[in-house]
Symmetry: C2
Subunit: 321 residues, 2 copies
Amino acid sequence: MDEFSFIDSIKQKYYKQPTLLKGVGDDAAVFRQQNKDIVTSVDTMVENVHFAKYTMSPFHAGYRALAANISDLAAMGAVPAFYLVSIVIPADLSNEDAGSIFSGMESLASLYRMDLIGGDTVSGKELSISITVIGYTEPGRARYRSSARQGDLVFVTGSLGDSQAGFHILANKGEYEEESYFIERHRMPSPRVDFAAKLSGIKRVSLNDISDGLANEVNEIADASQVTIILNEKDLPVSPQYPQFPVDLQHKWKLYGGEDFELVGTVAEDDWESVKEAASNTDTVVTPIGYVAERSLSSKVYLITDNGKIPLYSEGYTHLK
Amino acid sequence: MDEFSFIDSIKQKYYKQPTLLKGVGDDAAVFRQQNKDIVTSVDTMVENVHFAKYTMSPFHAGYRALAANISDLAAMGAVPAFYLVSIVIPADLSNEDAGSIFSGMESLASLYRMDLIGGDTVSGKELSISITVIGYTEPGRARYRSSARQGDLVFVTGSLGDSQAGFHILANKGEYEEESYFIERHRMPSPRVDFAAKLSGIKRVSLNDISDGLANEVNEIADASQVTIILNEKDLPVSPQYPQFPVDLQHKWKLYGGEDFELVGTVAEDDWESVKEAASNTDTVVTPIGYVAERSLSSKVYLITDNGKIPLYSEGYTHLK
């Protein structure tokens, strides 16, 4: 199959977004959106850096690559609308597998009525999937890391460390409880789009998605907002079967494990009821895990543990290698 | 230099686009644009597929990668505003060379006051540069390939085949006239943004950029518009020193040579004066090269040569390999 037939094979038969004027098939795509702010981001996944054949099928590689991008939109409070895909295909990847990567993306995209509006297919030595996503927020409602203020509650959605637990199960044969739950959390994470969008009634929310581990993301909020943040270790939410893993791994994954694609954020205490309402309306678990302390030019994050208050440093998340 | 310091080093100190609300530094970029249509496209260049060290410095690789993308916007009649870059960096690429790639992009972007608003830097086996561009047109003024109508004039900007001639000079040592002119046309092509934008007063224009050779692009217009198009070989514009090259190469490059990034389009005869005015206002040479004949479901392109009228087929442009 040549490049043109392949593009034809993945081209949508019809488009869902009412703002789209031109999809795939010209030099560029065109859309018209009034009275919204437009949010866009790009992210690339490279085989054997971000994913590997032994833990991910092509379908899952596509699914997760798009999930990571949609999660960035969720972290801005944006509703996804479009995606563009640039893929480098090595000679040893079959057409069937290349098609499965796009099927994986499409199966997630369809949940959000996202349209694939552009892309590029080129040959190269290693598989790499670069995705650009475009979404919308209500005017002035994009959520920045810099919006945390003294006195805010810190909250997190869902449970932490599950994706790394799933990866551990795939990489280390053994008997585990709820294997398929953890594996699915690794391969097919659910970006928190609906919950984040439901926060749009709240004037000020700081938000970040957990792609590189909680410690890193909370430090980013603290840095951008120039505040100190205090977290309570005992409040960090984990799933019921999480305690089956070794204690040191539990600790590592929930604080530094990447790619859960949950959200961490802060809001004024007065808005906490609205956050809980948004969570309940979208079947999302939301847990308060700390608070924003004083404003500070040398921003810091602390973790209150059984052994006292310790600094929680940002640790560069290293992808599997 | 780690990923974060590298991103810091290429981050703009300030932004130029008044519509931008948030650039690099959060989960995504945010902009607000009222009363325009938004045009977006993505394109990837892989080393040794689309460019090679022996013909392109890192600076030129970056420059040309962005030029190819901006040319897609020009082909839609759009004015460029933003770009996002996802780059896969192999271990043997120095930080200096990686920085030069971004300098090459920046030097072209600054001509259009474009802002770099997002991106991703990942390690991998081979250098690959994926660029997403975003631009604007006046509402309803995006230019499609499907807009050609019977009786239209066909026109082309600039001269044809120069980029391939420049590549030929770089790949084949020898004595050539105007060497630096042809080499610059290959390494630092000028997308026809200003000219295309000045056409916005004309209601209907079909437009395509010549990235894959004139024959291919005109066939795309014929296909999308379901018309037959007739071109006159003697009218195809070439630069003054072009005849120094072997006749068979001249023929090949001007019809099938890619990456001149000139524009080919069609307009009603009544609008031809306006096209010439747009050209003259933007120091662009524009040449009529044929006309749109009858509407036809089995669209065709013909070339009138000294030896009669021959069909001009689309030939899949093959990148250097």
